[in-house]
Amino acid sequence: MKIAVLLGSFDLLNPSMLDAEAFQHIFGQEYQFFKMPWATGKRDQTYNNALLSNEDSRLINAAGYAMKYDFADDKIPLLVFVDAQISDVVSCLKMLRKGANCETLNVTLLSLRSNTTYAASEATKAAAQELVTASIQGVAFTAPMTVTVEDLAALDVQHLVRKNLKIRDISTKLRDALERRGMTMSPDIARKKIMRILRRMTEEGMLVAKDKHEIFADELAAAMMQDLTQFLEKG
């Protein structure tokens, strides 16, 4: 079974900039970010650090099982570990192999390199090299693959800019719609709310069309007002 592992420090692997979509954009469609929507309490975690905890060995076992069966033949599950101890990654890989019940777990190590976060990039590279040299029975490493991005902040500019513009546009429209109904909301809260809703919708495979931002914001404002009315009536 093939999997891919991306290691790095928080400076580099910052969830606010790098989400599942961004990873696919950087490393290609072949790599698909591994999520665990079935694991109670872990479904909202951005990366896979939950698999490094020694407290829940069954979770890693189940993850190995899920990786084996949940992916198309031409897709490779991508695990992202932030600020991980190599010893934890080693035990995680051993358990994943057991969970997947496969003879050999073929691991492609991925690294990100960015000129703007040089120290973090070097640490990522060093962690990948340390892992390759670790001898784990039943786990084979392929040569690490490093992808260099000119400027991490500008990473996938189109993708991030588009996403941020969308959030800004819908949150402004939401504030307008609420104002028309006699309620005000701070820009920061509106932005966070929209960010959360859009993330949930993306997970469910839904998108708000560009020309429907206004309708969406209006419906959302109506629903929020209804919730508020019900809350006040109950109270």
Partner: protein, 298 residues
């Protein structure tokens, strides 16, 4: 390696098969799957159309042709013999899965592994829509709590429909084979055998309807249905007796109600009344409850 085999029996209804295949194509689950269709001796024209439907589909489909019409239980056993993927799911030609069905059920399996349960002793069922011709879809909840054997015999809270299921191949081996004496209700016997062999049904955390059953009683013989119930009650008599004589009477009363519905839907009104009368005789309290329920549902 194929992860999931989807098993479909088919007879003389290529357009219904096309509908089912489309719903498999639309699944969000990305693992590798194969569809096995056993054609149960369809007429030549229909078989040709079926081959066309299969050719036009983007799915990986294996068509197995029976030279003659063998009936549903034998066809289902043929499907079991042909399957070799680690997971199996069933669908009848004409019924459909909603796009999240298989992913939701796989998530439930992963959750079982996470909890340390043995996946080979579990079947994942799901809530579904029940659609009679000319009526709106009605959501039916599968309730997996409580004594599942008891609930299966009565069939009010937990119903035996194969097309709701996903499970490991090993879990299906637990229920052995379809009873070839049962031209109808072989699902019910299969479910009861599974639970009696230590199996358990579970439902995914996604409580939405995950598939739709397009229901029709037309052309189905009420006496045959009632006869199949008798075969099942005799076969699993030891299990029935454990629940006591009152429960046995209730199960028989329910069987009469189902037979009555089939008779009514096939315009055999006299027979329908006779079954209803019999149901009242077997368990008047349950019969009254059913009557009240059907009046409430209109």
């Amino acid at each position: 390696m194929t992860t999931l085999d989807v098993l479909i029996p088919h007879y003389n209804d290529s357009s219904a098969l096309a509908l089912s295949l489309e719903s498999i194509e639309n699944q969000t689950w990305a693992g590798s799957k194969r569809v096995i269709v056993v054609d149960d001796g369809s007429e030549r024209d229909e078989l040709q159309k079926t081959e066309q439907v299969i050719l036009q589909s983007s799915l990986n489909i294996e068509l197995i042709k029976s030279p003659e019409n063998l009936g549903r239980p034998k066809t289902r056993n043929k499907l079991l013999d042909a399957a070799d993927a680690p997971f199996l799911a069933w669908l009848d030609a004409g019924d459909i899965w909603y796009k999240d069905k298989i992913q939701s059920q796989f998530n439930c399996l992963y959750d079982l592994v996470h909890k340390g349960d043995d996946v080979d002793t579990h079947w994942i069922t799901c809530n579904y829509d029940w659609k009679w011709e000319g009526k709106r879809r009605r959501k039916v909840d599968q309730i997996a709590r409580g004594d599942q054997l008891k609930e299966l015999f009565i069939g009010d809270k937990l119903r035996a429909y194969l097309w709701t299921l996903l499970g490991t191949r090993k879990s299906f081996e637990r229920a052995a084979r379809f009873d070839e004496r049962l031209l109808r209700l072989q699902d019910l016997d299969y479910f009861i055998s599974f639970v009696r062999a230590g199996g358990r049904l579970v439902t995914p955390s996604n409580r939405n309807s995950l598939c739709c059953y397009f229901k029709s009683d037309i052309g189905r013989n009420a006496a045959e249905i009632r006869g199949c119930y008798n075969t099942i009650f005799n076969k699993h008599n030891a299990a029935l007796l454990e629940f006591g004589p009152t429960f046995t009477q209730r199960a028989k009363s329910k069987a009469d109600f189902v037979a009555s519905r089939f008779a009514k839907n096939n315009s055999e009104h006299g027979l329908a009344m006779a079954y209803k009368f019999h149901a009242f005789k077997s368990d008047p309290r349950y019969a009254l409850f059913r009557l009240k329920q059907s009046l409430n549902q209109g």
